[in-house]
Structures are given as C-alpha cells and as structure tokens.
C-alpha cells in the first residue's frame, strides 16, 4: 500500500513528502512558494546500463552504446502523431530531458497549469512509440549531436580522461554513443530497454513548487499502473585498480593546450551511500588545496601557469569516482608537476585547520543557496536520492566532516599510481582571420 512520510530540516526551514506508491514508484513532493514549478520523472537507467537481464532470465542482453540517450529522444514521439513539446507548450510549460551515465530524466517547468502539465509528463513517459521510420529520422539528428559534441574541447577532454583512467568501467562510454553504435539501434532494442528500465520500481518522480502532495498522488494513480516486477540485474565487468595510461593526448582546433589531471578512486565505498560523504569530503579538499583561496592557486595564477578557467573537483558516479583538475595552460607538464608537489607537500605538512574550517563553511553556504530554485532543489534531491542519500541531510554531512578524517583520506587517496593526465593540443588554425 501507498505510504507517505514527511522529512524536515528546521535550520533550513524546508520539508518534503516522500510517497512510496503501491507500484514501487518513489514520489518526492517538495513544497516551495515560488513562481515556478518544476518536475522530474527519472529512471535509474543511463549510458552505463548496457548489459542486463531480469531476475530469472538465463541470458544477458547487451545493447548498442548510446541507446539510453536515443530512447530519451524517441520517447517524445507519440502514437497519434502529436508533438510532446506542443502538448506542453499549449499549457505554457517548457519541457526537456537529459541522459547521463547513470540516469535518464524528463522534466518540465511552468508557472501555471502544473497538474495538467504533470499529466502530460506521466502520460508520455509511460507510452513508448518506436517505429523503423522514426528511429531512422533520429539517427540523423543524434548523428549531428555527436558531431557537435566531438567539436567541444572540454567534453573531449573529459572522455579522454575516462579512457586514460578506466580499463573497462562503463562510465567511459560516451552518453550519445558513436555514429557506428547508433546505426545499430532498432525499435526492438528500444522496446527491450524500455520494458526493463522504465518500470515504476526503477523510477522516481520529483516535483517542487507550490504543490499539494495528495493531488500528485492521485494523478500518479491514474497514469502509473502496477506491473509485475522482476528485479533488474546489471552486469558490469570488474574494474581493476590500475589505470590505463599515464598520458594521453589529442590535437584539436583550440587556442592553447587544455589539460585534465585525473586521480582514480579505488575505494570500496564507491557505489554505496557512503560515497556521497566521500565525494563531499573531496569537494572540500579540492577547494582547500586547489581552490581560489589556496596558495597553490595563487602561485600558479600569478605565474601565468593557470588562468581563471582552472577548476578542481571530485566526480561521483554510480560505479566510479575520481578527482579531476582541469584548465588551460601553455605548459601542461609544469602544471602536472606543480600539482604533484603540492599534494606531496600537504600530505607531509598538514595545512592550516582554520583554512579547512573556512572552506567547509563556504561549502555549507553553497548548499543553502541551492534552495533558492525549484529546479536546483528537484535536481539535487534526485541526484542524492539516486545515491540513496536524503538532500535535507547533506548539510549535516558537510558539517560533520572533520579535519582529521580529511587528512587521513587524502593521504590514502593521493597515490601516484592512480594519476593520469590528458591534454588537447592546438592544431594549426585555419579559420583565424
């Protein structure tokens, strides 16, 4: 049976309702008095989920790369020929969708007609319609999207880094797939993936705005019907702890060399809800050691080794985690050496506790700021939920991270064997006037 619970955070003065629907769908209603309403209907199905079976099946099914993203595009097509975007537009709502390595989400935002718009969201996501003809048409559109992304240097840099760090982890797979892999996609493949991953027990509905949870639940009753559930089993090849390459480089039409230094996280916590705390801890580390208030940043910036586009952070995924530092420089090797010696230095001589406390305070403030937007709230609630963590507890997690555990985690994590650097070097430009 459906049950409803309330989660509250008194410091933030925020609360939400969690409704566990009888179909297994988890519904999150976050009331917020703002002008906009925002809704996300998401499935725990992304580019990494390319080999799977249902409990009881003998055979594993392997599908072409890029299919989750392809499916996302195709779900906007309806059997009666109507355009999903037009249905939202008639209500003044604007719709969109995105696919990542870990999930697919359909969203809309509006300032009026929220419940009517929610009906459309629930309706189109629960009604797939794939044909030979509409699949062929999409191959042209997504083909152009792949070309566009191949021309984006930062995106290339990111995937090149994953290639250098991971032997077989599926997060390496380009979310859009390749021209060759999307050519293999058929309506049958799409239906197979749809029926496995778009079942209520694998999905979440998150809504934020001036919303009544009971009305949301009633709508879900109408559109989301109980299905016989078999659990999904996903196959991921075991990733070894070693990296693939220390260095990797491509050349593109860019003005200066771009670099990304990655450090592969081999912690057993990855994939558990403790990974969120670990991610936040390394987010503090990135601000503390490499952020704009660090001595590393000040020196490297003043020497012209890095510029304002330098960034550092920890990336947290369902099946992997890594630390990444990226930017533009004329001398990638010098930046790499500087990063290395900085890490060596801080592991030997612990930096000031007051600096740690200050960046932690700023991170907490950033968390509070994210409650000023219905879109941010819904997206953050969803991504934390995908990792089995409650958004309203994240502030306490941040506040609970100590200097001592951070130092210990750093010393254990920064192992030279797990470092790689990729670069994008400039080609001779032909377009410059």
């Amino acid at each position: 049976m459906t049950d409803k619970i309330v989660k509250e955070n008194n410091t933030l003065r925020e609360k939400y309702y969690l409704i566990r629907h009888k179909t297994g769908l988890q519904i999150y209603v976050f009331p917020k008095e703002m002008s906009t309403f925002y809704a996300l209907f998401a499935t725990k199905y992304g580019a990494i989920d390319n080999c799977f079976r249902l409990q009881g099946d003998k055979e594993w099914t392997r599908v072409p790369d890029g299919i989750a993203h392809f499916l996302e595009h195709k779900l906007f097509e309806n059997e009666d020929g109507s355009e999903t975007d037009a249905r939202f537009a008639a209500l003044g709502a604007s719709s969109n969708a995105f696919t990542s390595s870990d999930m697919t989400a359909y969203e809309f935002s509006c300032t009026e007609n929220f419940y009517e718009s929610l009906e459309i969201l629930l309706d189109f996501v629960t009604h797939p319609y794939f044909t030979e003809e509409n699949v062929k048409k999409e191959q042209g559109i997504i083909g152009q999207e792949i070309d566009m992304c191949d021309d984006m240097p930062m995106r290339r840099l990111y995937y090149e880094l994953l290639e250098a760090l991971y032997v077989c982890n599926p997060t390496r797979i380009n979310v859009c797939g390749t021209q060759a892999s999307i050519a293999k996609i058929t309506p049958e493949y799409l239906y197979t993936c749809y029926h496995v991953f778009y079942k209520p027990s694998n999905m979440m509905l998150v809504v934020c705005g001036d919303i009544d949870p009971d009305r949301v639940e009633k709508l879900v009753d109408t559109y989301v019907t109980t299905q016989k559930e078999a659990d999904i089993e996903r196959y991921f090849e075991a990733e070894p702890t070693n990296i693939v390459q220390k260095r990797r480089s491509v050349s593109m039409d860019v003005s200066r060399p771009l670099f990304a230094v990655g450090i592969k996280d081999t912690s057993p916590l990855i994939g558990t809800c403790e990974a969120v705390r670990r991610g936040l801890l390394f987010r503090i580390v990135s601000d503390w050691i490499f952020g704009t208030s660090s001595s590393f940043y000040e020196n490297a910036y003043n020497e012209g080794l890095i510029n304002a586009r330098f960034s550092a952070g920890y990336e947290n995924y369902r099946t992997c985690g890594f630390f990444m530092l990226s930017g533009e420089t004329d001398d990638p090797e010098a930046v790499y050496q500087r990063i290395l010696s900085e890490i060596e230095q801080v592991c030997l001589t612990p930096p000031l506790r007051e600096d740690f406390l200050r960046v932690k305070k700023a991170l907490y403030a950033e968390y509070i700021r994210d409650f000023d937007s219905t879109e941010e709230i819904a997206n953050n609630l969803l991504s934390y939920r995908m990792m089995n963590v409650d958004l309203l507890e994240v502030g306490d997690i941040i506040n609970g991270i100590t200097y001592e555990e951070t130092m210990a985690a750093m010393r254990e994590f920064f192992c030279i064997d797990h470092f790689a650097m990729v670069t994008i070097l400039p080609k001779n430009k032909s377009a410059e006037k």
Partner: protein, 436 residues
C-alpha cells in the same frame, strides 16, 4: 514584487526589488558608458585589474578568503555590451542572515558590500598607476580570452558573423577587445579610463532581497554615493540600420567535424518600439522554442541538425539564426531556414502556433521572479531602451498581438549576412600515446 527606482544623485540610480522568497540577497553596481573602439579593451581589462586586489585586501587570495569567511559570499565583475553601451558591472550575492547558524549572525550583507566598495574605490596604486604586476597578468588573461573564442565553434561563428555584418557600426566592435589592443595597452590611459568611469558613467545599482528600499538608500549612500559626485549624462543615440538590401555571403574553415551556419538579419525593430511585442512573438514562432518552425522543420522533419534556433538582440536590431550542420548540407539548410521565414511572412501561422508562443513567452516572463540575475537583466535592458515595463505589463501586451501583426514583423526582417564556418571533417588527431 515591483521595481522601486529612485535617483540617489544626478546620474546615479537605485533599483530595488523586494523579495522574501530567497535565502540569498543580490546587489550590483553597474557603470554604463558609450561603447567605443577607442577604449573597449581598457574597460574589458579594468574590472579584472580591480578584482585582483585593493588596499584592504591586497591580492586575489585575500579577497577570496574574506568572502569565504562571509559564508561563501560571491563577488563577480563583468564587462559586456548592450546596444551602443558598455557595462562594467560589480555584483555580489550573500546568504540572508536568517539562515546563518544562531551563533554566527555576522552582518554578511554590509561586510560584503564593504569588500565591493574597496575593490571599486580603493585599488592599489603605485606612482599614480595601477600595480603593473596586476595589469600585466590580467591583460595576458584578456588576450587569452580573445584567442579562446575559437574553442567554442558555435559562439565563434556568431561572433564572426557579427563582425562581418556590422563592420564600422557600434555592434561590430569586438566587446572582448583584440589581442593587439592588449599588447599595446597604455597603463596611463587605463587609470584615466578608470577615473572617467567613476566620474562620468551612468550608475545603476540593483538590489533584490528582503531589505527595505529605505535601508538600501542608506547603505548605498554610505558605501557608494559618498565616493562619487553627481554627473550629467550625455544623450547619445547611435545610428540605426533598419534594413539590409542584399545578403553578403562569407565562408571560413575550421578543424571541426561539424559546420556552423549563421544567418544574420536586420530586425527593423528595436526594444522600446511599439512593435517589440509582436517581434517577441515572431521570434518565438519562427525559432525560439521546440514548438517553433525552425525546430519542427529544420530539425524534426528534415533531420538536418541537432540545434537550430533564432535569437534576437533588439538593442542592436539584429537577429541570428544558428545551426550546426553537416558541411554538405549548407545550401539545403539555408533554403529551409528561409522557406520557414517566408511562410511566416505569408501569415502561415496557425492559431495553435500563436497561442503556444504566447503561453511560452508568458511562462518565461513569470519565471523571472525566481532569479535575481534574470530580473536585473530584464530591467537593465529596459532602462537602457528608455521603456521600463514589468513582466506582467509585457505579458498583457503580448496577448493582444495577432498572427497578422507577426507576419508584418516577418516582412520587415531582412537577411544581411550568411556566414558558414565549414568544418573540414577532421576534428582530432590522436598523437603520442605512451604507456608507462
């Protein structure tokens, strides 16, 4: 929530929007000057030099540390163009005191404004000039930013189209400056530009948050107005080009897989004109949303691209249509883009299209209230255009527009320039992989 606007001194204005829904407050100080090729690079550089350090916080690190102490308050400096003006902007946002832990109710608002004040009015000077070290560092960064435009091919193509289309016009001034500008920069002129800005620019202060207008008047007077005299604002209006007679064509190549097509149009309509409302609807119907003619035809029916959209800048009277396409499809794409414009001109606009576009614009305008920055952009544009309307007032006017009005606007729009950045199909070379 309505705009409260008042003059604090001649030429210095406070714009106040009371809003209790946010956990943060937003404050900005904008210096507005005529856009000129003579000094655009100087004003692009200036806010970066000021952001490098001031007497009380002498370097970037000291500034960031101070802001982190103030619960992660943020300060951003920017230089950008709006029509025939350039804007040098200093903005801050900060957590509302009510959400700080009980034991730490620091006055984050005034403390952050004090940092902003020091950055603007108390730069480090040496022998009557800005610190040479900061000037050199930031002019190198400015030149890098100019060179880095090529990294984003779509934006680069739009930039090139604008330069070619608007050569000799204010709109054709490269807002980031040029590499040569930064190589030949005169330190003396930089500090003269700074003094000129403080003494002569139109100053627009914006605040969005929970404090009252009276409180803002007091704090603005104390922190900022006390440092500046009133000023007389020149009444300038650069020449407007309403129509293009023939379309110029340009093609350049880049090492890229995809080609970037940009069509530049003269809109014949400017912000503040009575036709601006019909124009907004025209843009929406033609290429402003996933229900637009360009999206539904160029992308969905013809599968020519992933993105194809129209974007208008009514302060400059310019519209772009941009699409990323296969390099062999250039002519097909141009034909389809212009065909959809012709259909709009011939009033092939269904009642649904008109209705969807009205709903979509209204939704966008009502959403502005959830973003302080978006509200500032809205009002600042309209202050510059000399016609300040609230989002509700614009929605009301939009609702009265007919399909006939939209077709009339489409007839007014004229194609000026076709620009194509032809990808050579080879975006990357793998090189020198080493396993060690």
């Amino acid at each position: 929530m309505s705009l409260y606007r008042c003059s604090l001194k001649p030429g210095i204005f406070l714009n106040h929007l009371k809003n209790d829904r946010f956990k943060t407050g937003y404050f900005s100080l904008n210096f507005i000057l005529p856009l000129s090729i003579e000094n655009v690079a100087y004003y692009a550089l200036l806010p970066r030099v000021l952001r490098s350090g001031c007497e009380s916080l002498p370097n970037r690190r000291a500034i960031v540390k101070r802001l982190e102490e103030l619960y992660g308050a943020d300060i951003y400096v920017r230089h950008y163009g709006r029509g025939d003006k350039q804007i040098i902007s200093f903005a801050a946002d900060f957590i509302d005191r009510a959400y700080l832990p009980q034991d730490e109710r620091a006055d984050v608002f005034s403390e952050t404004l004090a940092v902003l004040r020091d950055l603007i009015f108390s730069p480090i000077q040496q022998n009557g000039l800005f610190l040479q070290e900061y000037v050199d560092m930031e002019r190198r960064n400015c030149a890098d930013a100019v060179r880095a435009m090529i990294n984003n091919k779509q934006q680069y193509a739009i930039h090139r189209c604008t330069m070619l289309m608007c050569e000799g016009e204010t709109s054709g001034i490269p807002i980031l400056g040029t590499v040569e500008d930064f190589e030949n920069l005169l330190p003396q002129k930089l500090i003269e530009c700074y003094r000129h800005m403080l003494a002569h620019a139109q100053v627009e202060i914006f605040y969005v948050g929970s404090s009252s207008p009276a409180a803002l008047e007091t704090v603005s007077a104390e922190f900022f107005c006390s440092k500046m005299d009133g000023r007389e604002l020149p009444q300038t209006q650069s020449a407007r080009i309403l129509h293009a007679n023939t379309a110029k064509q340009y093609e350049e190549t880049a090492n890229a897989v995809q080609g970037k097509l940009v069509l530049g149009f003269r809109t014949g309509v400017f912000l503040g004109d009575t036709t601006q409302f019909a124009y907004s609807l025209f843009n929406e119907i033609y290429g402003g949303s996933p229900s637009s003619k360009l999206f539904l035809n160029v992308r969905e029916k013809k599968s020519l691209c992933y993105s194809c959209y129209a974007h208008a800048d009514l302060l400059n009277g310019i519209m772009y249509v941009a699409a990323g396409i296969d390099r062999e499809q250039k002519d097909v794409a141009i034909k389809e883009i212009l065909l959809q414009l012709d259909k709009t001109r011939q009033n092939e606009i269904s009642q649904e299209e008109l209705y969807y576009a009205k709903q979509s614009l209204a939704n966008g305008y009502r959403s502005l209230y959830d973003s302080p920055e978006a509200l500032e952009v809205w009002y600042l544009r309209r202050i510059l255009a000399g016609s300040v309307l609230t989002p509700e007032e614009v929605i009301e006017r939009i609702m009265q527009v007919t399909a006939q009005d939209v077709a009339a606007i489409a007839q007014r729009v004229s194609l000026d320039t076709i620009y194509f950045l032809r990808g050579d199909g080879t975006c990357t070379d793998e090189e020198g992989e080493e396993d060690d």
